[in-house]
Amino acid sequence: MLLQIDKVESGRGFRLVGELDASNVGDLRDVLDPVVAEGGDLTLDLGGLAFMDSSGIQILVTTAQGLGDRGNLVLLSPGPLVRRLLSLIPVERLENVRIEGEET
């Protein structure tokens, strides 16, 4: 499977493993939509994500905007390629987005 979405045991969040593109971004949206509707902080562990394109950026932005002042979106441990993409479209400028963790 190209993208694996695992719920993390502690806290509210998911670990993404594999590659995120237009073929599977809908799967991630289906997982995140109910969490956004519920509100509260959300952590996405990106350490296992070997590739992400702008369709991934799009869902991070809509997720952060959906949470609004009801919760923060934490992006954990993005690898070099994902970091490079995030640097172009700095999603952390959105008030409720933070990038944490060491580069993996």
Binding site: S23, D53, S54, I57, L85, L88, I89
Partner: protein, 134 residues
């Protein structure tokens, strides 16, 4: 005409479907490895060419896309071509999905040339150039 000038030209055709994008990345990674590119340079070309491919898949209406990769003296050239139309989505307000893709291509390439396909004259070619020496 290009064969003589670009003996190392590698060309691969893919169906213009989201499920083909993973195969596009395999091809791009193979070429980057064959040319011995640094990981950072390989990532930048992979990101830019993947965005051009995603645009062809999602917005062009073309049944397929072709990716060409070659080296020219001190540069890598990657072309993503389709048989469809180019929709201009330069983001001015809140970016649309296609607009972000173009922004990524522009930011990560040293030169970009876009031949825009239109209904009367279909076929978009996005040529991305990356310099090998900084």
């Amino acid at each position: 005409m290009t064969k003589a000038r670009h003996p190392q030209k590698a060309i691969r055709t893919f169906p213009a479907h989201p499920s083909a994008l993973a195969g596009v990345r395999v091809f791009l990674r193979e070429r980057a490895a064959a040319d011995g590119l640094s990981p950072d340079l390989a990532d930048e070309i992979l990101l830019a060419a993947s965005e051009a491919s995603a645009n062809a898949v999602l917005h062009s209406g073309s049944p397929s896309l072709r990716i060409s990769w070659w080296t020219e003296r001190d540069r890598i050239v990657v072309e993503v071509a389709d048989d469809g139309e180019f929709t201009r989505r330069i983001p001015l307000g809140p970016p649309e999905p296609g607009g972000r893709g173009i922004a990524v291509i522009m930011a990560l390439s040293d030169e970009v040339t876009i031949r825009e396909g239109n209904p009367g004259d279909p076929g978009t070619v996005v040529r991305m150039v990356k310099y090998l020496s900084a």
